[in-house]
């Protein structure tokens, strides 16, 4: 349990470094530290399926970021410039809303079940019926591809839409030529 909190603190520090550092390559590496900490936390709470996906996606994301940075620029010019009035105003407003949100959330967070002790009203049925109903030994695959396959279809649609969006943004045809 204590190691989860250690990783949480490490992730917070790495995230702050990733937003504040001037060299973009170092920022990408701190971002990778956050992602791999998430993967290790998944392993610690015994979720190997999620850990595999998290590690693989993290590697691909870091490679993508580095490939983009090597093509463009290393230095983030916007960091540590003097803040303008509107920026200070937006930061103050954001802080006020965050505090308000936490105050409102406080009561409902007290009603939540304890960490690591879920209520298991739905999940216990899945665990009981997973192997006999579907025949798959991996319970996660049973849930995402049999009991909740429609959710997976929606997820696939989200990925499809994002790929279409990226390709449509970056395509050559239909773009005005600069003169």
């Amino acid at each position: 349990m204590i190691e989860l909190y250690l990783f949480l603190v490490f992730m917070l520090i790495a995230a702050i470094i990733a937003t504040e550092i001037k060299d973009l390559l170092a920022a990408v590496i701190s971002l990778g530290a956050v992602g791999f900490s998430v993967a290790i936390m998944f392993i610690l709470v015994q979720a190997p399926d999620l850990a595999i996906v998290q590690i693989v996606i993290e590697v691909l994301t870091i490679v993508l970021f580095i490939a983009v940075i090597l093509r463009t620029t290393h230095v983030d010019e916007t960091i540590r410039k003097k803040l303008s009035g509107t920026q200070i105003f937006s930061i103050v407003m954001f802080a006020i809303f965050a505090i308000l949100f936490l105050i409102v959330m406080f009561r409902s967070l007290q009603e939540m079940p304890d960490f690591g002790n879920p209520i298991m009203r739905v999940a216990s049925e899945y665990i009981k019926l997973g192997l006999p109903k579907t025949g798959g030994a991996n319970l996660v695959a049973d849930v995402i591809l049999d009991f909740r396959a429609l959710d997976t279809l929606g997820e696939a649609t989200v990925l499809f839409t994002s790929a279409i969006g990226v390709v449509a943004l970056m395509r050559k045809s239909g773009r005005k030529k600069k003169k």
Partner: protein, 144 residues
């Protein structure tokens, strides 16, 4: 996009087959061990990304592989929907597990789950590779 040095190219040639096989293993054993279509598809996309970064190709073949990736992504999506609709046609419910369940803990078991895993892996792998190509490798956009 120029390729990398000879060391990187040689190591890539040795390693890439293993990465590909590992991805296929993760996909096909998705209903038995941790992993599944999503993770395996991303691993296969990673193999393609490695090949692309190590060797590099001219602008024309980048455009061509982008088209191929889009086509494969569409094929994967259609396969997934096709499995779902065949459940509707053959047994009367969308996404019904209509195939025989088989013996648990065997490779050929769990009905439609392996088919769904294969379809999702094609879709995810091709989709992520096409996103990678669009964001990091499409030089012919910048050149005009």
């Amino acid at each position: 996009m120029k390729g990398m040095s000879l060391i990187v190219k040689t190591i890539t040639n040795i390693v890439i087959g293993f990465i590909f096989i590992y991805g296929v293993y993760i996909i096909l054993h998705g209903h038995l061990t941790p992993g599944g279509g999503f993770a395996g598809g991303v691993i296969i996309a990673g193999a393609f990304v490695l090949k692309f970064l190590a060797f590099g190709k001219g602008a024309k073949s980048e455009k061509k592989s982008s088209t191929t990736a889009s086509v494969f992504e569409s094929i994967g999506g259609l396969l997934f929907v096709g499995v779902a609709i065949s459940g509707l046609l053959l047994a009367g419910t969308f996404f019904l597990n209509f195939l025989p369940k088989g013996e648990p803990f065997h490779l050929l078991s769990a009905g439609i789950i392996p088919l769904c895993n294969i379809a999702i892996s094609i879709k995810v792998g091709a989709g992520l590779f096409s996103i990678f190509l669009a964001l990091a490798a499409m030089k012919y956009i910048m050149e005009d």
